[in-house]
Symmetry: C2
Subunit: 157 residues, 2 copies
DNA sequence: TGAGGGCTTGATATACTATAACAGTTCATA
DNA sequence: TATGAACTGTTATAGTATATCAAGCCCTCA
C-alpha cells in the first residue's frame, strides 16, 4: 500500500514540516529567510501543483508584499538556489520541494489533467549521467519531467 | 573509438541526410513540406545547437520568408509534431532531430559552454516510465535534459 | 558609536517567448 | 468550377523573465 503525494493526505503536515526544515536549514547556514521568501515558499507548499511566477505575485500583491515581477523572481531564485523549490521547465512554473535542504536533481511527474506535480522517488539520474559519460559528456544538472495522468485522473477519464 | 556529434564530422552529410529523410517521410505520409518549413528545418540542421524561435525568425526575415512570430512558430509546430525538431525546454529553444521520422522521446545533453546540443543514445525513458508506474502514474511524454560540459569544452576549461 | 560594506527590497523599464484571431491565398478534388 | 481544407500574412496581445538604479537594513569593525 504505497502512500505518496498523489493520494489524499494530511496536507497541513507537509506545509509545516517543510517550512520547519527550511527554517532549520537557513538557521544553520546563516541564510536570510526573509518574510517575502517565507511567504513565497508557503504559497507554493500550500498547493501540490506548479504555479507561475505571476500567479504567486498576484497573491503577494493582494497581501501588500510587493507587486513587481522582480520581487517574486528574486524570492524564487533564492528558494531555488537553496533547494527549497524547483522549476518545472515544461510549464515555466515552480513547485515547493518535498525535502528541502537536501541538494538533489529531482525528477517530476506532471498530471496534464489536474496539473498536480509530484517528485519521483529514486530518480534515474545516475543512469543518465553514466550514459552521458560514455559519450564523453560531463553532467552537472539534469531535468527530468514526465507528463501524463496521475492515478486519480486515470480513473475519471 | 566512439564517433558522435560532439566531435568534428562531415557536417554537410548530417544536413543532407536528415533533409532527405524528412522529404521521404513527408512524401510517404502526404505531409506538405513547404518552403518555410524546409528552410526552418535546414537552418536548425546547419547548427548543432539550439536556436530560439526569434533567432530563426531573424534569418527568415532577411531572406524575405516572413517576418512575424507566427510564421516561425507554425513551422516549428509542424516540425515538432512530425518529429523533425525537438524543443529544449530548459533553453526555450529548438534543435533539429537527428533521426527524423522516428517517433521517440529524446534525451539531450546541453553544453553550457558552447551551447551545442546532442541527442543521447539509449535514453533511459523506460526506467523513468516504470518508476512512475510504480507510483500509479501513467507517463505519456518525457523530457530529459542534461546540462554540463561537452568533451571539447572540458579540455579548454 | 558611527562609517562602511554587503545584502535585500522597491520601482521602472524593457527584453524575450508565445499565441489568438482574422483575412487572404493556394491547391486538391468533388 | 465551386468548395473546403490547409497554409500564409498580419495585427495585436498575452505571458515569462531580467537589467538597472535607488533606497533601506543590518552587521561589524575600527
Amino acid at each position: 500500500m504505497p502512500s505518496h503525494e498523489f493520494q489524499a493526505h494530511d496536507h497541513s503536515h507537509c506545509v509545516s514540516d517543510a517550512m520547519n526544515a527550511a527554517l532549520v536549514h537557513c538557521e544553520k547556514n546563516g541564510l536570510k529567510f526573509t518574510p517575502v521568501r517565507q511567504r513565497v515558499f508557503e504559497i507554493l507548499l500550500s498547493e501540490h501543483k506548479a504555479m507561475g511566477a505571476y500567479d504567486i505575485l498576484e497573491i503577494l500583491a493582494k497581501e501588500g508584499m510587493g507587486s513587481q515581477p522582480p520581487v517574486v523572481y528574486r524570492a524564487l531564485d533564492f528558494l531555488g538556489t537553496h533547494g527549497f523549490v524547483h522549476k518545472i521547465e515544461k510549464l515555466n512554473a515552480f513547485v515547493a520541494c518535498e525535502h528541502p535542504g537536501s541538494d538533489h536533481d529531482p525528477a517530476f511527474m506532471i498530471c496534464r489533467s489536474c496539473t498536480k506535480v509530484v517528485e519521483m522517488n529514486g530518480s534515474p539520474n545516475s543512469e543518465i549521467s553514466s550514459a552521458a559519460k560514455s559519450m564523453g559528456f560531463e553532467v552537472e544538472a539534469i531535468v527530468v519531467e514526465a507528463e501524463g495522468l496521475c492515478p486519480t485522473c486515470q480513473d475519471t477519464e
